[in-house]
């Protein structure tokens, strides 16, 4: 199982994602620089890590989404490559048009960092198959712009087709319908504001993130 983590300038959860992936696959992920134009061959799962790519000085994720490597990942995802983005990675995926909706500034305009209870909406996806449906898990959040928004039609569509995989039990940022994590219609591209890679070790205060990674790895 070969995984890869993309490094953008000022990604800062790249190492955290790598540690989690290695822990679960037993194999170091490839660290891929944003200026590369192609993923190394054999990569089966790509993580877009959290951080502040390009300082988030423009709209979060907007500049990173135009990186050469993102174009290649987008093309491959259309052919089925599994991709997950956490936090800034989720923002990059929406900016790249790989996931619907946008992440706006948090409702109270402040950065928020805390362990957050999430409801697993469905376990009929490649990213949640190891969870009990409707169970509650704890992942930390740490973001300034996690307020999920989509127009009414898009929202209806993703709700109807079961693309909402995680909802906040106690909405920290004003996201519509308490949405914390979504998957694309094809089921192979996933994004969430919370950090599953920060919940894979008892020292983190919880290990609910393990099932997330185990789910996706099992399907590959």
């Amino acid at each position: 199982m070969q995984t890869a983590v993309i490094r953008f300038p000022a990604s800062n959860c790249d190492r955290d994602a790598a540690v989690a992936l290695e822990k679960i696959t037993g194999r170091k992920p490839l660290m891929v620089w944003h200026r590369e134009t192609e993923l190394p061959s054999g990569v089966q799962f790509v993580v877009m890590p959290g951080g502040f790519s390009y300082g988030d000085y423009l709209r979060c994720g907007a500049i990173a989404s135009r990186s050469p490597i993102v174009q290649d990942i987008k093309n491959r995802s259309e052919r089925g490559l599994a991709v997950a983005g956490f936090c800034n990675g989720f923002q990059i995926l929406t900016e790249a048009g790989m996931l619907p909706g946008v992440l706006m500034r948090n409702k109270d305009l402040k950065f928020v960092c805390r362990p957050e209870r999430l409801k697993v909406e469905s376990n009929k996806s490649r990213f949640t198959s190891k969870f009990e449906a409707k169970s509650e898990v704890m992942f930390p959040v740490a973001h300034h712009d996690g307020n999920y928004f989509a127009d009414k039609d898009t929202l209806n569509r993703i709700e109807k087709s079961g693309q909402v995989l995680f909802r906040y039990a106690d909405n920290p940022n004003g996201s519509l319908n308490d949405i914390a994590g979504i998957v694309n219609q094809e089921g192979n591209v996933f994004g969430m504001m919370p950090h599953p890679e920060r919940a894979v070790d008892v020292m983190h205060g919880g290990t609910d993130g393990l099932n997330f990674f185990k789910s996706i790895l099992e399907t590959i």
Binding site: N12, F52, C113, A142, R198
Partner: protein, 742 residues
Amino acid sequence: MANNTPKITPEIVAEHGLSEREYEIILDRLGREPNINELGIFSVMWSEHCSYKSSRRHLAKFLTKGDRVIQGPGENAGVIDIDDGDAIIFKMESHNHPSYIEPYQGAATGVGGIMRDVFTMGARPIALMNALRFGEPTHWKTKQLVSGVVAGIGGYGNCVGVPTVGGETNFHKGYNGNILVNAMCVGLARADNVFYSAAKGVGNPIFYVGSKTGRDGIHGATMASAEFDDDSDEKRPTVQVGDPFTEKLLIEACLELMETDAIIAIQDMGAAGLTSSSIEMADKGGVGIELNLDDVPQREPNMTAYEMMLSESQERMLMVIQPGKENLAFEIFEKWELDVAQIGKTTDTGRLVLKHNRKKVCDIPIAPLADDAPNYDRPHVKPEPRPALDAKNIHETQDYNDALLRIMTSPNIASKRWIWEQYDRHVMTDTVDSSQSGGDAAIIRIHGSNKAVAVTTDCTPRYVEADPYEGGKQCVAETWRNLTCVGADPIAITDCLNFGNPERPEIMGQFVGAIEGMNEACRAFDYPVVSGNVSLYNETNGQAIPPTPAVGGVGLIPDLHKFATLQGAQEGDTLVLIGETTGWLGASIYLSEILSREDGAPPPVDLSAEKLNGDYVRKLIRNRRANAVHDLSDGGLAVAACEMAFASGKGMALSGPQGAARHGWFFGEDQARYLLAVEKNSVNPVVATAKAKGIPAQIVGKVGGDRIQGDGAFDVSLEKLRSANEAWLPNLMSGDAQNGDG
């Protein structure tokens, strides 16, 4: 030499913050009049901020050596050995003046600056802490300062991706006109790959890397060396602007270059920018430096030599590169899209020579700028000692429920969640414990290992104000105690000495007294000072801040299977109090919050009792005899029990006074004390062994239920106390109520 500069008049000299006497020395050392560039360079290098001219001789008293000290004060940060070839590099620094004028940028650049001090030496920053002091909550400026400072700290640290794991926040009217923002950074390096600032060799290339130089922050160091008045807001243009994105790239690029052998010496450009970095490197290495300012990356056109040398633009580094490795350095910095330029070379002249527009614009000897800078023995007077108060003569509250609630919702005790939830505490995924649990010290695992460092910052300004010597001892002792509470071996400290105007003998008296007290504690614990900074002139219109020597302590937890926090108390555990309780209420929170009094001598610190009690508690933790541990500090036993109850989610029932008046028993602030939650079967051995060692140990209550009870004196629901404790700061920050318009 080009003389494109105005004639140096006494007015210009005074504007540069130099005294007549100091100017005479400059004339003497140069043997001629300086030009304006040279005057500017002398003025920043001889400012209090850069030269430590009022404090140097007193700082020299500190214990700075120890078995684990790799590098003490004098470099960018202190370095300690934590075994297995690992080193911890850390320092705390103030950014008080800029944060008052422009809270967001002032605080942000404080965080950026302290991180640069740490990664300059080859360490990856792994934790940030902050010690903050604001004015009264009701003061018209306080809310704006709190929200700006907190957003600035978070905005910078969160972006760079270093967890902000703890700190402290106080409110007191003494800070109405001068807030304190002290930032601490802890980094991890390999002990055999530490980088220093001493330039070496002759003809070696000097590289500039990072942000371009702009006109921001000119004379920041001079501003930080003067008092404020009503027009302080006009100093806003001297505050720098932070760019955490560039900082993150600088960290990665520098650490990457540090994996090669390309760097001979490296120094960040902090206060007084290019001037102090080049002079410090040259002075430490005993060489000269020649810079061509035309090659400095510039943000704006037509900058003068004076502006470039005095700019405090952030996120810039200076390094001496190994000849032949220039291309390697260019390659790495260009990969990270950073501005990089070779701007000069080392020389054997011992002089700083600057060229601009193909003309020589400065040529001065380096020694008088650094080592030979003024070193004053300012007059100091000992403060009048305050009388020790006897609890018997201090009014006892008739409503303990109300008193407990008022204390738990008082500004210094109330939860600071509103602040720390704005900081990423988890990035790097090695945070074991942080502000989140309300613990005594943050715990950060050493990546990929089973050991951890513990970090805390502490200072009780009201004690220092009441008695600088005892208060100074207490600041150091409290950090030592807090590290002990989590099961760490305390190793060393950094300090940030915030005081008023040193030209006033009573302020200098506070300064000298505090240092002597701190030093005594350092020596008693074998707990050296390895880095720090001094911030003087924290005064507005002649009103000085309370003396605030903030101390940052670092310790080592060798085995992460054996540590403690406040969180582990179990239903049915026995509460054991280690240390002697006399019921000391002088300078206490009870006195200030319940009786609106700030008098009395502070609790004395018996350093041998501290050591004895602390070593015992640490041993109990390592033998897994304690489920939860908390030191007793502000608010005494009752507050410690509440905090442990909040963290553990269990009620606590305290028994009545043993050897002290009732209010002194519950709220007294005697030092060297710890509250332990101990499993039933361990109680007898814990108490008996303590007694055998001559350590006071008493059973003082039980864990369980959902109430906080104090032997019939108070009985309040845990939930009520917790929600009131949590609500205070959010209410303050969201409330519209402001008293007056200033």
